[in-house]
């Protein structure tokens, strides 16, 4: 286990270097003069242009430029938005908790529904229940998120009035963020109405964002379960006379979950970067929407640094998932 852990941690450094090379290369690959890209389309005077060339080191060889860029990152300088001049890190730290909260609840929804669905489909393999559940999963996977989200809003929010249309919390609640996670912050202030408002606002966006991961997890659980249930030790457990439910939950599921955990880990990466559409429909102020709007505004500093920060987060999360996988997989744990 220790060896596995150390090997895994050692991989961080080359991964980070790879990420920084990608983000460094990004601004230099777009078909615009990189200085003008950094300065924005307003254009700069010849004097300012010359200053910027020196500041970003564009007169130096490419490796020198890369090390200047790395040096800035190590000093915590992730640049400023060329549209608002706010520090990129500041905006990221403000907006990331919203994406984190949404992704968390979307994942909970996907897991809490997806795994039981997968188990039932596996246990009732071949029946109409199995076909129905997997068919629904396929529909969920294929649906355009935008359409699905707007449909839910029109039906549940506007017509039935059961859920709010968009936003993170009802507008009459106003408190300075502590963690930036609305549910936690409202509990910190002891404001129960705010807490429930935040939860209500999470319902539709979590469903929409979690639909595709749900479908993936359900199908993955089903196939993992089927594979495990065909194993000899499961047959032995049945032969020993154990109740079917115990066979499934105690013996089969634990082993089936191992590949499912890896799938969940991959889905987290998808959630982090892919909340864009959901965040746009539900006016959810997260990093997905922030990145997309920055691309439209040609705000290259934000795109470059935002890319880096999101990639680092996804990398860290995948690291935890890998460690978790190592912990629950007896073959790795035993080593």
């Amino acid at each position: 286990m220790l060896q596995f852990l150390l090997r895994r941690l050692a991989l961080i450094v080359p991964t980070l270097i790879g990420i920084t090379i990608c983000t460094f290369g990004f601004v230099r690959l777009i078909p615009v003069d990189p200085i003008l890209a950094m300065a924005g389309e307003r254009g700069v005077t010849a004097k300012r242009y010359a200053e910027l060339v020196i500041k970003y080191g564009f007169d130096r060889p490419i490796w020198d430029q890369y090390f200047i860029y790395l040096g800035q990152l190590l000093r915590g300088d992730f640049g400023h938005s060329i549209v608002s001049h706010r520090a990129v890190v500041l905006d990221f730290v403000t907006l990331f908790p919203a994406t984190l909260e949404l992704s968390f609840f979307a994942l909970i929804f996907a897991i809490v529904i997806g795994i039981p669905v997968g188990i039932i489909a596996a246990v009732r393999r071949g029946t109409w229940l199995d076909q129905g559940l997997m068919g629904t999963a396929l529909v969920g996977y294929s649906m355009p998120i935008f359409w699905w989200g707007l449909l839910l809003i029109i039906f549940f929010s506007t017509t039935l009035g059961w859920t709010p249309v968009s936003g993170r919390i009802a507008l009459n609640f106003f408190f300075k963020p502590v963690t930036g996670i609305m549910t936690i912050d409202s509990l910190i202030y002891g404001n129960w109405p705010a807490f429930f408002s935040a939860l209500r606002h999470l319902i539709l966006p979590s469903i929409v964002l979690g639909t595709i991961p749900l479908a993936v997890i359900a199908r993955q659980t089903r196939s993992a379960m089927l594979e495990v249930m065909g194993e000899d030790y499961v047959r032995t457990a049945r032969a020993k006379g154990l109740k079917e439910s115990r066979v499934v939950s105690l013996h089969a599921l634990r082993n089936a979950l191992i590949p499912v955990v890896t799938t969940i880990g991959l889905q987290v990466g998808v959630l982090m970067g892919g909340a864009i559409l959901t965040e746009t429909i539900f006016s959810w102020p997260g990093v997905g929407r922030w990145m997309v709007e920055s691309i439209f505004k040609r705000d290259y500093s934000v795109v470059q640094s935002g890319l880096l920060l999101i990639a680092v987060i996804v990398m860290v999360i995948n690291l935890f998932v890998d460690i978790l996988y190592g912990a629950i997989n007896p073959r790795i744990r035993a080593n």
């Binding site: 706010r86 905006d91 300075k176 102020p285």
Partner: protein, 530 residues
Amino acid sequence: MKLMKTVLTASAIVAMMAGSAYAKQLIYCSEASPTHFDPGMSTGGNDFDASARTIFNRLVEFEHGGTAVEPGLAETWETSADGLELTFHLRKGVKFHTTSYFTPTRDFNADDVVFSFERQYKEDNPYHAYLGELQYDYYGAMAMPAFIKEVVKVDDYTVKFVLTQPNAPMVANLAMDFASIESKEYADALVAAGTPQNLSTAPIGTGPFQFVDYQTDATIRYQAFADYWKGKVAIDDLIFAITPDTTARTQRLLAGECDIMSYPNAQDIASLKANPDLLVLDQPGLNIGYMAYDTTKAPTDKAEVRHALNMAINKPALVEALFGTGNAVPAKNLIPPTMWSYDDAIVDDPYDPAKAKEILAANGVTEIDLWASDRVRSYNPSFARSAEIIQQDWAAVGVKANIVQMEWNQYRVDGAKAGRGGAFQIGWGGDNGDPDNFFAVLFGAAAIGTQNYAMWNNPDFEAAIKAGVIETDPVKRTAAYVKAQEVMNAEAPAFLMAHSTIYVPMNKKVLGYTMDPLAMHRFDNVDVAE
């Protein structure tokens, strides 16, 4: 400890908000996040709605619902006989906002006016380049550097603008958002504290609402300024709920999550109007959608060809298809019919594809570039759609249109480059209700390389717009702009498409909201029924 402090302060805020349960609240669903809160450095209507029109005042102000100018922070003003000096007599007893981050020690005076303008033209002013590469774009775009020599404090309540030449629209320019008045005391305090950028993130003004909080990409909160010089406004708490997706914004209005919204979809107008809980106000916008021909490059360098291309397009059908029934008026002049000096006697190019085909064939015109972009504008909901329709009309007369598609910011930069050629779709919303703001800004020779996408330089037109700017007698100005319209009609540097209608849907409990021809969203005169 810091956490405890934050919790206690915030609990106090929550308690305060809970206590003001009978406070009048207005929720406005806006279409985009503000870039920052410094109107001097902004150019977008969305930014101005969030800063200039809530937090700040100007020397003079546009009247609600019109483009006439009325006293603001200046009570009276006069122009010298030679037209080179514009003197403003400032209002006394005007207070600046007191907030958690700033307490003013003095009232508004001439120092604040001088600072607000000097920072825009004086390179050595600490606020001239205080936000990285951001510049005072509007100050430059309105040609202020060319016209303003300096801004001088005569005494504590008198300020003089010294001009390089007479300029009739100057007073109207000073009613524009970029001319908002900042607090010099606050600006100096920020420089001393080493945080000048806070001027754009934690603003202080004299306006009807004071800034409370901005949660990035989510909400902006304002509170009525109790000591506002015009008297405290009716709305106590103003909230901007930022909702970029148009359908979601409409759904929020329908569900009652917001009281008033901006820029609905044209397709939703009919159903919104039919809704018994809603009121949809509309007004012809002070705008124009058009297509500029490159008058310096073949084949569009000949007026005959441009007229023929215009004649090939079925304008009423185009406008109907693009905007929907009743949402826009086909244009025959650059300025809309609501603007003074509009010449109704002008006769537009007729829809005559047969004649057009003849002229184009005779000139050997078989192919042309047609530019389109992705952004939705009030004067054109879909450049791509209008391009397709025009492409079809031109194909019918034997001209193949190659559509050049580009992202909005790049579009406006590349479209202005010399040698572009072809037809460039664009439009304009008026800034100050003055015809110069249309004619000179969009087709004046001085704007070649920036806003003059037709690269047009016509001596008769230049003489007309010059006269329009220098004359102060309205009759002479009107005559000058009528002449400008006649020259444009004769030379056809553009295909003039439409003036669109601006709609603002709101809940019926919102009272007193006035449509603004300059497409501003202002809430200082709004009340909410209980």
